[in-house]
């Protein structure tokens, strides 16, 4: 317990470029950038593939491959290839690893919508794009959000590991602390990351509550 007060009680840990607020901000920045890029790639692609039903194999293969690819290996490989002058050597693997969960869940969500519902929407005179955006997406939203959540988990964890390659973020407290046997920093940093991950989870749970229609989430009894 003295580790905790050593870490959180030290004023030096609260200011400057290596302080908790800056590291927290860095962690948030890298995670958010990677998640945003991954979403911009995976969400439209998943909607398209799910809606047209073409290219489902790509989705399955990419999902399996990304689970097998070791995070740390990718990071080191891109850092050796591209150097550490910019943040891209770290952002690229983060995006690579977080695209598949969004892609798979969006695809599965859209494809899994009851075909009768889809036919009914067409029968009401909606066109393809309208069916997708007004009917399929709202119904598939819980799965799509699950994909985003899994991706966010992946990104937060990988950003932690990325600190190994000299990048900022909360992982630095853990990795630098471990290297210098400063266990106060290791334990304090670890707790901060765990809390960060929990807050991200909570955010997604709340987002789901707000955005998913009551009819879809069965909070509203329809029969």
């Amino acid at each position: 317990m003295t580790w905790l007060s050593d870490f959180f009680g030290d004023p030096a840990n609260w200011s400057g470029p290596g302080g908790i607020p800056m590291r927290l901000l860095e962690h948030l920045e890298f995670s958010a950038l990677a998640l945003l890029l991954a979403t911009l790639i995976a969400l439209p692609l998943g909607l398209l593939i799910g809606h047209t039903g073409r290219g489902g194999l790509i989705v399955v293969v990419s999902a399996n491959l990304s689970r097998a690819l070791p995070t740390l290996g990718l990071l080191v490989m891109f850092v050796l290839l591209l150097g550490t002058a910019s943040i891209w050597p770290v952002i690229i693997p983060l995006v690579l690893l977080s695209v598949p969960p969004i892609l798979v869940n969006t695809f599965e969500g859209i494809r899994g919508v009851d075909p009768e519902l889809r036919d009914a929407a067409y029968g009401m005179g909606l066109r393809g794009g309208q069916v997708l955006l007004r009917v399929l997406v709202p119904v598939a939203l819980p799965l799509i959000l699950l994909g985003l959540r899994l991706s966010a988990i992946q990104v937060v964890a990988t950003t932690t590991v990325a600190a190994y390659t000299g990048l900022g973020g909360l992982g630095r407290f853990v990795i630098d602390g471990f290297a210098t046997k400063d266990y106060a920093s290791v334990v304090g940093g670890s707790l901060l990351i765990v809390l960060f991950a929990l807050v991200v989870q909570l955010g997604f749970t709340l987002a789901q509550r707000v955005t998913v229609s009551p009819g879809v989430s069965r909070r509203l009894k329809t029969r």
Binding site: L81, A157, Q201
Partner: protein, 224 residues
């Protein structure tokens, strides 16, 4: 031998089995142990917990909730926090991976058992099966494909996650990555990534094979 930097093949030949700690063969062995134990332990723990959650429905929500939260925790800080309990050992890597495995397998067991059609269960009851016999001979076999699908996810992700254990020096193929980073050099990284992906594919293939052997009726139904 030329004097230039070694190619990947030369590097493998030189480092595969040096007889010292940290040869590639050695790391591969570590990697297998650290990924297999959580898969097996996760399954052994998830089965009774999943069965209990089906038997006592109220248990499922809290169990699933807790494991959902655990699943969201990044592995590296969890390893670090565990060091104060289990010290610098392979157990420190194995315990969190076991929990991640349970997070995937408990819902798989529950979904699998939930996919048993009611009339099948009632037939078994009508035929005079005791609850235990019904579980072993009827319900578990029907749940097998769903559980095995979960196990495939667990096997592949567990094999790739073990590499993070290298950051706390616990061996495994991830050590190739840390080694390559400290002494900037590409071959070990490539060898590490290729071996881990290959290991994951082999494990996945074996589980697909297991599914074919364990659930022959799935194919029989499709062809008939």
């Amino acid at each position: 031998m030329n004097d230039g930097p070694p190619t990947i093949w030369e590097w493998i030949a030189r480092n595969w089995d040096t007889g010292r700690v940290g040869s590639v063969k050695d790391l591969l062995g570590d990697h297998l142990v650290m990924s297999l134990v959580p898969i097996v332990a996760g399954l052994l723990l998830a089965l009774p917990l999943g069965l209990a959650s089906v038997r006592w429905r109220w248990l499922y929500q809290p169990t699933a909730g807790i494991f959902n939260i655990i699943y969201a925790l990044p592995s590296l800080p969890i390893f670090m926090l565990l060091i104060s309990v289990t010290g610098l050992s392979k157990t420190t890597v194995i315990i969190p991976l076991t929990f991640y495995a349970m997070a995937v397998l408990i819902p798989a067991v529950v979904d699998g058992l939930g996919s048993v059609p009611d009339h099948v269960r009632q037939s078994a009851v009508a035929m005079g099966f005791t609850p235990l016999r019904r579980l072993v001979q009827v319900e578990l076999p029907i749940a097998t494909p769903v559980v095995l699908a979960g196990l495939r996810v667990v096997a592949v992700s567990s094999i790739s996650l073990v590499s993070v254990g290298a950051l706390i020096g616990q061996g495994g193929l991830g050590m190739l990555f840390t080694r390559a980073y400290q002494n900037p050099f590409m071959p070990p990284v490539v060898v590490g990534i290729v071996l881990i992906v290959a290991l994951a594919l082999v494990a996945d293939g074996l589980l697909v094979l297991a599914q074919r052997l364990l659930t022959p009726w799935v194919r029989a139904r499709r062809t008939s």
